[in-house]
C-alpha cells in the first residue's frame, strides 16, 4: 500500500457568530466555539497507480482528508502513512514526491508569464536542467501549452490558467497527485481536456491520483474506485459500478410509443421519470427489469424500448440525499 490511513480523526473548533446586533455585541465580549468533527474514524488504503475519487457532499471531509495526506493538517488521532512517510512531518523527501492542486486556489505568479513560475518551481524542487526540459516538453505537448507559456497569467482564461497550474504542479514529476476540484468552473471541453490529461499522466508514470470533484463526469471518466464520505464517516469504498448498483437498484427504461398510451396507468410498471409526448422514461427495479419490460411489450403500444443504466451523476445525487443533511458548505470546508 502506498497510502495508508488508519482510524483517522480530525476535529477542530469553529467560532459561532450569533445573528443580530445583540448577538454581535455578545460575541464581541465572548466568543463561543463548537467542536466540528471534520473526519471521524476514516480507514482506507490506496495502491500505487490507482485513481481514486473522493465523493461526498460539501463539508463531508474530503478536503480535510486531502490536507492531512499532504501534511497540511495534523490528525487529531489515528495514523497516516504515505510512501512510508508521516505527512505532517513535511520532510523534503516527501514533499518532492507529491503535488497538491486546488482548483479554487492558484500558485501562478499573476503578473508574469507562466514559464516564470515554472522556473521558480524548478529551483524550489531542485529539478535538474535536463529533467526540467524533458518534463516541460512533455507537459507542453500533452496540455498544448505552447501558445500560453509566454502570456502573462492574468491574461489567460480560467481554463488556460488551470492547464498552467497543472503543469507547474507536475514539473517535479510527482508520484502522487492530490487534485481538489481541478475542473471547477471550467467549461465542458476544458473539463474533458483536463480529464484526459490526468488519465494520460497516470498511465505514463504510473502515478497515484486522488481526486475530489463536484462534477460526477470527472469521477466517472477517471476513477474505477471511489471512496464516499459523509459527515466525516466512510460510507463506501470500492468499485464505482458496484456502488451504482448498490445504491441505485434501478434501470432506466426508455419507451417510444406508437400511439398515446392513454388509459394505461404507466406508474404501475415503474417510477415515471419523464413524459415527452410519445417518449417516456421509467425507472424499473433492477431484478425485475426483464419481467416488467416483457409485460410492457405485451400490454402497451410500444414502438421501441431500450434499457439503460441510470446516469451515475443522478445515482450519486441519490446517495447524498439518502445520507441525509447537506451541511453548510462555507462553515466547514475552507
Amino acid at each position: 500500500m502506498q497510502i495508508e490511513v488508519n482510524h483517522l480523526r480530525k476535529y477542530y473548533q469553529v467560532h459561532q457568530k450569533e445573528p443580530g446586533l445583540l448577538g454581535s455585541l455578545r460575541s464581541f465580549v465572548r466568543r463561543k466555539y463548537e467542536d466540528v468533527k471534520a473526519v471521524d474514524d476514516l480507514t482506507f488504503g490506496i495502491d500505487a497507480g490507482e485513481i481514486v475519487g473522493f465523493l461526498g457532499p460539501n463539508g463531508a471531509g474530503k478536503t480535510t482528508t486531502l490536507k492531512v495526506l499532504s501534511g497540511l493538517l495534523y490528525p487529531t488521532s489515528g495514523s497516516v502513512s504515505v510512501l512510508g512517510f508521516t505527512p505532517y512531518e513535511r520532510r523534503s523527501a516527501y514533499l518532492k514526491q507529491f503535488t497538491l492542486v486546488m482548483g479554487q486556489k492558484q500558485q501562478l505568479l499573476w503578473d508574469l508569464p507562466a514559464v516564470e513560475t515554472f522556473l521558480v518551481n524548478k529551483a524550489i524542487y531542485e529539478i535538474r536542467d535536463a529533467d526540467f526540459d524533458a518534463m516541460l516538453h512533455e507537459l507542453t505537448e500533452l496540455l498544448n501549452l505552447e501558445p500560453l507559456l509566454k502570456k502573462q497569467v492574468r491574461k489567460l482564461s480560467l481554463g488556460e490558467r488551470m492547464k498552467c497550474e497543472l503543469a507547474a504542479a507536475l514539473l517535479h514529476r510527482p508520484r502522487i497527485l492530490f487534485l481538489d476540484e481541478p475542473t471547477i468552473g471550467l467549461d465542458v471541453t476544458m473539463q474533458t481536456n483536463i480529464r484526459q490529461f490526468v488519465a494520460e499522466y497516470n498511465a505514463r508514470w504510473n502515478a497515484t491520483v486522488i481526486l475530489t470533484s463536484h462534477y460526477m463526469a470527472d469521477v466517472v471518466a477517471l476513477c474505477k474506485r471511489v471512496i464516499v464520505i459523509n459527515e466525516g464517516h466512510l460510507i463506501y469504498d470500492g468499485d464505482l459500478r458496484a456502488l451504482a448498483e448498490r445504491i441505485a437498484p434501478y434501470k432506466l427504461v426508455r419507451v417510444d410509443f406508437a400511439q398515446s398510451p392513454n388509459g394505461h396507468d404507466l406508474s404501475a410498471y415503474g417510477e415515471v421519470r419523464r413524459v415527452d409526448g410519445l417518449n417516456v422514461e421509467l425507472l424499473v427495479p433492477r431484478d425485475q427489469t426483464s419481467a416488467i419490460t416483457a409485460l410492457m411489450l405485451s400490454e402497451l403500444p410500444v414502438a421501441d424500448l431500450t434499457i439503460e443504466e441510470p446516469a451515475i451523476e443522478e445515482v450519486i445525487g441519490r446517495v447524498f440525499a439518502n445520507a441525509g443533511v447537506e451541511r453548510e458548505a462555507s462553515s466547514v470546508e475552507r
Binding site: 446586533l21 454581535s24 455585541l25 464581541f28
Partner: protein, 262 residues
C-alpha cells in the same frame, strides 16, 4: 432618508464591532502625534518655545489627538478598492448614493471611538498639572461645530482623492501627498504658529489648518473674536469648494467609468 440612514448605521455598527481589533490598532495609529509632542517637550524642557510652555504643548496635543480621532477618514482607500475590483458597479444599482454608506461607516466608527479616546484624554488632562482647556459652553459648542466641519472637509476631500481612481492608477500617491501636507501644515508636526513665516499667515486661507488645527486652537482658547469668525468663514468656503469638486468628479467619473464598461 432618515430611515435609510438608520438602517445604514445599524449595518455599519455591526461592521465596526466585527473589526474591533483593527480599530483598536487604528486608534493607536492616530496617536502618532505623541512623537511630535515628545520632541517639543524635550525642546521646551528649560524654557517655553514661542508662546508654548510644556503644559501648553501637552494641552495642544491632547486636543489634537482627540480631534484627529473624531475627524479621520480612510475613504480614499475604500474607493480605490471598490473601483479597482469593479465592486462599485453593484453599489451603483442601489437607489442610494454609495457615499451615504461610507458616511454611516465613519459615523459609527466615531461613535465607537468616542468613549475610548475621551476617557484616557480626560484622565491625562486631570492628572497632568498645567493642562487646561477652555470649557465654557460657548467654546465647546464652537469646538464641536468646527470639529464637524473639519470632519466634513477631510471626508469630502479624501473622497475626491478616491474618485481619482476613475482616471488614474496611482490615486494612492495623491492620497499620500494630501495626507503628508496635512501633517506638515495642518498642525500635527508643530502648532501652526511655530512654523516659519510666512506659513502661519498664509495658513488662515489655505485648507490645511481646517483639516485639524482650527478646532484644536478653539478648545485650547487660542483663537477668538474676528479671527474666529474669519476661521469659520474660510472653513465653510473650503467645505463648499470640496463639495463642488466632489459633485464634478462624481458626475464626470461615472461617465468615464461606464464608458470603459467596467
Amino acid at each position: 432618508m432618515l430611515k435609510k440612514y438608520l438602517a445604514l448605521l445599524r449595518a455599519s455598527w455591526q461592521g465596526t464591532l466585527e473589526y474591533r481589533a483593527s480599530i483598536l490598532i487604528y486608534m493607536l495609529l492616530a496617536s502618532m502625534p505623541l512623537v511630535s509632542l515628545a520632541v517639543w517637550l524635550s525642546l521646551a524642557a528649560d524654557a517655553p518655545i514661542g508662546n508654548y510652555s510644556s503644559a501648553d504643548f501637552i494641552s495642544y496635543y491632547l486636543a489634537l489627538i482627540f480631534a484627529r480621532h473624531m475627524t479621520g477618514a480612510w475613504v480614499s482607500h475604500e474607493l480605490d478598492y471598490l473601483i479597482r475590483q469593479g465592486l462599485l458597479s453593484p453599489l451603483l444599482l442601489k437607489p442610494i448614493n454609495p457615499i451615504h454608506s461610507q458616511i454611516a461607516a465613519h459615523i459609527s466608527d466615531k461613535l465607537f471611538r468616542l468613549p475610548l479616546v475621551l476617557t484616557p484624554i480626560a484622565i491625562a488632562a486631570l492628572l497632568i498639572p498645567g493642562v487646561h482647556f477652555d470649557l465654557s459652553p460657548l467654546t465647546i459648542l464652537l469646538f464641536l461645530l468646527s470639529l464637524a466641519l473639519t470632519f466634513a472637509i477631510i471626508f469630502v476631500s479624501t473622497y475626491c482623492v478616491g474618485l481619482l481612481n476613475f482616471w488614474i492608477t496611482h490615486a494612492e500617491a495623491v492620497s499620500e501627498l494630501w495626507f503628508g501636507l496635512r501633517l506638515l501644515l495642518g498642525g500635527t508636526l508643530a502648532p501652526i504658529d511655530l512654523l516659519p513665516a510666512p506659513i502661519p499667515q498664509l495658513s488662515v486661507y489655505l485648507p490645511f489648518r481646517y483639516t485639524l488645527s482650527f478646532p484644536v486652537e478653539i478648545i485650547i482658547g487660542r483663537v477668538s473674536g474676528g479671527e474666529l469668525a474669519l476661521g469659520f468663514a474660510v472653513q465653510l468656503v473650503w467645505l463648499a469648494i470640496f463639495i463642488a469638486l466632489y459633485r464634478l468628479l462624481w458626475v464626470r467619473g461615472l461617465r468615464a467609468y461606464s464608458a470603459v464598461g467596467a
